[in-house]
Symmetry: C2
Subunit: 207 residues, 2 copies
């Protein structure tokens, strides 16, 4: 009989999902600090050792759980309209971070990772694909001549996400789309190709 592997796989998958759901729901309810492996295990109806088999710490479980709920997979939209594509991504990030309970849990994890090297590495692995996707979208715009060639796309990523992070963190309320538009306009104005000295008209920066 060869039914045992798939069955055990299904059982594992079921347990993993239950644990991830329990982790994030617990953290939303009681906060990151008061979330414990014991509490997660109880809620997911598994043993603590089942959790420790797959994750080394509550931070690691929560990172994976957050990733499932926050995750944008793959590339950023490329509609040919750079402003619109960036606007969509920043509003998505601002909403997730500032207007859902997930934001506070994520922020607590970010804090914890400041003093936990393993968690910092796991966090980096989690956010890296999104950061890289935004960078690639900016580099594509650069290749089309909509962003000056001397601009460092990685710095632009910091500016775009950083502005949102700061606004959400220090206001602790949902961002108005107008604020996103204003910062996007300033950044895109700052990176558009400069008119040549001879005054020859260059194409406008909007794609």
């Amino acid at each position: 009989m060869s039914t045992s592997p798939p069955d055990s796989y299904r059982r594992n998958e079921h347990a993993r999902r239950a644990i991830l759901d329990a982790a994030i729901d617990t953290a939303i309810e009681v906060g990151y600090e008061k979330t414990s492996i014991e509490g997660i295990a109880k809620r997911a109806r598994v043993g603590k050792q089942t959790i420790y088999r797959w994750w080394p710490s509550k931070g690691a479980v929560l990172l994976e759980a957050l990733q499932q709920r926050m995750g944008r997979d793959g590339e950023l939209a490329d509609t040919g309209d750079l402003f619109a594509d960036l606007r969509g991504e920043l509003l998505r990030a601002a909403h997730l971070y500032g207007a859902t309970p997930i934001g506070a849990v994520y922020h607590a994890l970010l804090t914890a990772s400041l003093s936990d090297a393993a968690l910092a590495e796991a966090h980096d692995a989690m956010v890296r694909p999104g950061i890289d996707a935004l960078r690639r979208r900016l580099e594509a715009a650069q290749e089309l001549g909509h962003i000056r060639p001397d601009i460092d796309a990685a710095t632009l990523v910091d500016m775009l996400y950083g502005t949102i992070l700061f606004q959400v963190l220090l206001r602790t309320r949902p961002l108005a789309p107008g604020q996103v538009d204003e910062s996007l306009r300033i950044i895109l104005d700052g990176v558009r190709p400069r008119p040549t000295l001879e005054g020859g008209a260059r194409p406008a920066a909007s794609e």
Copy 2:
């Protein structure tokens, strides 16, 4: 005899300083979460009730202690060189946040304030003067015509501090001055007065 009030004032001042020092030193040593009013009191050689007489929570004590160690009082430098003044302020903030143990304590407080309205209010009162001073420096540059009149100075503040915050948080290492320069250049290029359509030369954006 009128010596009693000054003596008691001096005693209070001495106790306050001892408490603030004990609070920040404890938080740097054991982290924000493990810092307790009891631990602070022990270290400062005062009773817990002395602390509670002046502050409602450990977050409130730590905020004031951080303010004393982080604080830049009053206005931002105005040397007439906008780039240099902003660069100085951002490098100062990046160093404090990213290269001293105070940064992690501050970040934990920021996290705690996301779910604690009183702490959020106290935090806002602490950071507001610095944010306002940067905004006023930008508005002064705007009045001199170095920044377009339609730019919202408050958004610029978010972009400047946000970029630094993001870089420090997600890299957890000291910022290179080159990164600060690059983001400053992009932002200042984005806000400088636009050439008139008739091609009339405007003064360069550098002050």
